[in-house]
């Protein structure tokens, strides 16, 4: 038992390591690894592993990644995910505030995750006690107004800019670019591990800044200042960020980038101290970091709350195990809590060394080598098509530098295509404007390509850096260490320890949670056919295969086709008998809401094998349907777990048959052939 629990930590630790790798290497996203894991998992016999381990691995990787993917953004100016596209952190690094930016970012990520976890636990408890799924309610309400919400975001984005005309042009242009690029066949399919998003993002948000810095005469990175901002600052922003992450998880079509744009916009509108740019930059940073971690959590948990996947990681989890029960949810919480604490601890412990290393790097050679890296990785992953998209993105991304508008206007790339979809007239609009999407099966990605490309993409920029550095040498002094308390706040070590312990407790609870569905009282949900019925209780929904019986088929399938061919019975007759048996079940279960279900295991289709009783256990459905002549005993009771029920069912079938009850009267041939 203890070993089983300890084993759960293995995927969490490996997931954490994977998160570090995907976070640090720009261009490699958690979605990429998740897609690879799913592909490997479904190769027959290749990866015989408990799906729970993979779920824990992916969850752990997703949250750990959010602590590390800020690095390329801060120190290299590369937004490795769209949420960081507007991050002012790179500007802070260029002002010598890299240490501070890192501290604010990881505390924002951590606190954002912590608040989101508390919200999730609160919602689950409410769901248990009051039977109210708040998330589902919010989702269904907001779903109706999503078009207007997005329209309002775009409108606000434009009218709050200094130059409304250029802001409008930028949103429209980047929006059209989004529509064209996201439906372009010259790059791999949008569902591929590497697709059009990366080159577009790099072009719009990363390269313009790096390129401009090459032309600036005095654009060097000053010595980084190290101060004691080891406090939980910007709690409000982290809270705001976690709400943003939650909305991202719930609102269809609203990505983390859109949520970040919207929140930053509001934050900017209501900021009193607009003059203190350093303070505002940190607020931005805390908010976006919190959105990142909160989004990682909600995107996965949306699978449980609203039955929707919201990220590459959640799609992978859904594919690995579609049946997300409460025990799995708690295990995911536990895994993410532990992983976030570990990630926080790693970054927090090493940040001073990271800054010291960064202090000896020369900025212009670094910018040049980063540009080389971005071009190479784009070429390796998305081919020449990706380079072309990167180029157009770059041209558009340069416009804000020459018009003094916010770079956020380039978010039209994501907002406009989504707005178009929710307009409900997308097909007409794209046809009239000749903007119809085309996808290709082009896949630049292969393992060889990936390894060789990765090696080249990393080594060539390093060589370029070393060569260029010989010609452009920047003046550096030793590291300054300042002790200044920037923000008031409590020390965060307590909350990290608490989160770790909470994570471990949740993991243990999940292990002991009845898988975790076990026999007990359930509420009737739906009749699929006479022998397949679903129920639910607070632990989740179960699909029951009624044990030991068989009813005629009603759905098109190979089974019904084979049966029809074998006995020369028209399919329509078989379906008709299946419908009658289904109606019997519907009538039976319409009488009451609650039932006692005895579960003996699962069948090959992952359905629970159930004996269904009335709540007082006086009536047994498995027996009743056979008794009334609408089902037969399956393989003469060979698989019935209870010997007593087996005998009762056999007797009931015999009586129904000789008395021509139910289907034994109207569809005798079918029932008789089913027995063969």
């Amino acid at each position: 038992m203890i070993l089983d629990i300890l084993l759960l930590f293995v995927p969490i630790l490996f997931g954490c390591i994977a998160g570090v790798i995907t976070g640090l290497i720009a261009g490699i996203h958690t979605n990429t690894l998740s897609a690879i894991i799913v592909a490997i998992y479904f190769i027959p016999g290749f990866l015989e592993i408990d799906p729970l381990y993979l779920i824990l691995f992916i969850s752990s990787m997703a949250i750990s990644n959010t602590f590390f993917d800020v690095f390329p953004s801060l120190f290299l100016g590369i937004p490795s995910s769209e949420v960081y596209a507007l991050l002012p952190g790179h500007k802070m690094v260029k002002n010598g505030r890299g240490y501070e930016a890192l501290t604010v970012s990881i505390s924002g990520s951590f606190f954002g995750f912590f608040i989101s976890l508390m919200i999730c636990l609160g919602v689950i408890i409410l769901d248990f006690i009051l039977d109210i799924n708040i998330m589902k309610n919010v989702y269904s309400i907001t779903n109706e107004y999503i078009f207007y919400i997005l329209l309002a975001i775009i409108f606000l984005l434009i009218i709050t800019d200094k130059n409304i005309i250029w802001a409008f042009i930028m949103v429209v242009f980047s929006g059209i670019f989004g529509v064209i690029a996201l439906g372009s066949p010259i790059v791999p399919h949008p569902d591929s591990a590497f697709n059009t998003i990366f080159p577009a993002l790099i072009g719009l948000f990363a390269l313009p800044g790096l390129l401009m810095s090459l032309f600036e005469k005095n654009d060097t990175i000053p010595n980084q200042i190290i101060n004691d901002t080891n406090k939980l600052a910007f709690k409000k922003n982290s809270f705001l960020g976690s709400i943003g992450g939650m909305l991202t998880g719930l609102l269809p079509g609203v990505g983390s980038a859109n949520a970040a744009t919207c929140l930053l916009l509001f934050q900017n509108l209501f900021t009193k101290n607009k003059e203190d740019s350093n303070f505002n930059q940190k607020k931005y940073l805390a908010t976006t970091s919190a959105i990142g971690s909160s989004d990682a959590l909600f995107a996965i948990i949306a699978l449980y709350f609203i039955d929707r996947s919201r990220s590459g990681a959640s799609v992978a989890i859904e594919q690995i195990n579609a049946d997300i029960t409460i025990s799995i949810v708690l295990a995911i919480f536990g895994s993410m809590a532990i992983s976030s604490s570990i990630s926080f601890f790693i970054v927090h412990s090493l940040k001073i060394y990271i800054i010291k290393i960064f202090n000896v790097i020369d900025y212009k050679p670094l910018s040049l080598s980063v540009i080389t890296y971005l071009l190479l990785i784009t070429l390796m992953t998305t081919g020449l098509g990706g380079i072309f998209i990167l180029f157009i993105g770059l041209i558009l991304g340069l416009i804000p530098y020459f018009t003094n508008i916010r770079k956020a206007q380039a978010m039209g790339f994501f907002l406009v295509p989504v707005l178009l979809f929710f307009s409900q007239h997308q097909s007409d609009i794209v046809t009239k404007l000749f903007l119809e999407a085309k996808y290709s099966n082009v896949s630049v990605f292969s393992l060889d390509n990936f390894l060789i490309g990765g090696l080249l993409s990393l080594s060539i920029p390093i060589i370029i850096y070393l060569v260029v550095r010989k010609f452009i040498r920047e003046q550096k002094n030793s590291v300054k260490i300042l002790y200044e308390t920037v923000e008031k706040g409590k020390n965060y070590s307590g909350i990290v320890v608490f989160t770790t312990i909470l994570g471990i407790i949740l993991l243990i609870i999940s292990h002991f949670m009845p898988d975790k569905i076990k026999s007990g009282i359930f509420i009737f949900d739906e009749v699929y056919d006479g022998d397949t019925i679903s129920f639910y209780n607070n632990f989740g929904k179960i699909k029951c295969r009624i044990e030991g019986i068989d009813t005629p088929e009603k759905y098109d399938s190979k089974k019904i086709n084979d049966f029809s061919n074998k006995y020369n019975i028209p399919i329509v007759d078989i379906k008709s008998s299946g419908e009658i048996a289904t109606q019997y079940a519907i009538d039976f279960f319409s009488k009451s809401k609650e039932y006692f279900i005895s579960i003996s295991g699962k069948d090959v289709y992952n359905r629970y094998l159930c004996i269904v009783y009335s709540k007082d256990k006086k009536i047994n459905y498995n027996l009743e349907i056979v008794k009334d002549g609408y089902a037969i005993s399956y393989k003469d009771g060979k698989y019935i777990s209870s010997e007593k029920i087996k005998l009762e069912i056999m007797q009931a079938e015999y009586n129904a048959r000789i008395n021509k009850l139910g289907l034994w009267d109207s569809h005798y041939i079918i029932m008789n052939k089913m027995k063969e």
């Binding site: 439906g183 399919h189 097909s427 085309k438 759905y555 399919i571």
Partner: protein
């Protein structure tokens, strides 16, 4: 290096390059042809679990279709060789598609990426997502959808059997005449006109029942045009029989 050119000129140059760049990109998109042959999708491939996110070609007969409010079209196929339900999902960003491919009973071919998802009833649904509009091809229009007449010509064909397409059933109720004859009284929406119709009991087969139960938007009918109390009444012989 130093930026000497004024910002004003630069921003216009950038806009012009961006416009040309996007035109070039979209031209490439339009000219791109998916003319590669892809393997056929079979039940064995689906069962082997090696299909995910790969491109296949599937040919099947349309059983029914559904369009959600955002314009995503889901086509259901009538394929008894498949163990699970197979659907095609056509997203609105592909543009307006030929309506004939939605006619129940039509044979169509789709080339696209294959995925799977679990529906609300917890059933595994295989999903083929076309690469583009051109990868959805009509192989054979359902028979009773051939030689159809226009809605304006219905009145000219009283006493004749006609074929009508793009019919929507808006109401359907059982009716027993004074003589005890059972029939289904239906109201049909054809283009923008509503007609009364009758399906005699012997023609009200399970197949017809299923089509009407599914509230299909786009069925084809063969009917005799008659008059009842001065109004046109369509005596339905057959309703899309794939």
């Amino acid at each position: 290096m130093k930026l000497n050119v004024s910002k004003t000129i630069y921003k216009y140059i950038l806009v012009i390059i961006a416009i040309f760049g996007m035109i070039a990109l979209q031209s490439m998109n339009i000219l791109y042809a998916n003319d590669v042959k892809f393997p056929n999708l079979t039940n064995d491939i689906l069962q082997s679990n090696t299909y995910r996110n790969k491109v296949f070609t599937y040919t099947g007969v349309v059983r029914n279709y559904y369009i959600n409010k955002y314009g995503i079209i889901t086509i259901y196929f009538n394929d008894l060789n498949m163990n699970n339900i197979l659907t095609a999902s056509i997203f609105p960003n592909l543009g307006v598609i030929d309506k004939n491919i939605l006619v129940t009973g039509s044979k169509i071919q789709i080339t696209g990426t294959v995925k799977e998802y679990i529906n609300k009833k917890n059933k595994i649904i295989y999903q083929i997502m076309p690469l583009d509009k051109g990868s959805i091809k009509l192989i054979e229009l359902a028979n009773y959808c051939k030689n159809t007449i226009e809605v304006k010509d219905i009145a000219k064909n009283i006493g004749k059997n006609v074929n009508l397409k793009f019919v929507k059933v808006i109401s359907n109720e059982e009716y027993v005449s004074k003589k005890g004859t059972k029939m289904q009284k239906v109201k049909l929406l054809i283009k923008d006109m509503v007609f009364d119709g009758v399906i005699w009991h012997d023609k009200y087969t399970d197949n017809v029942k299923e089509i009407l139960k599914n509230n299909s938007n786009n069925i084809c009918i063969n009917a005799e045009v008659s008059q009842f109390r001065g109004d046109i009444s369509l005596l339905i012989n057959s309703v899309s029989n794939p």
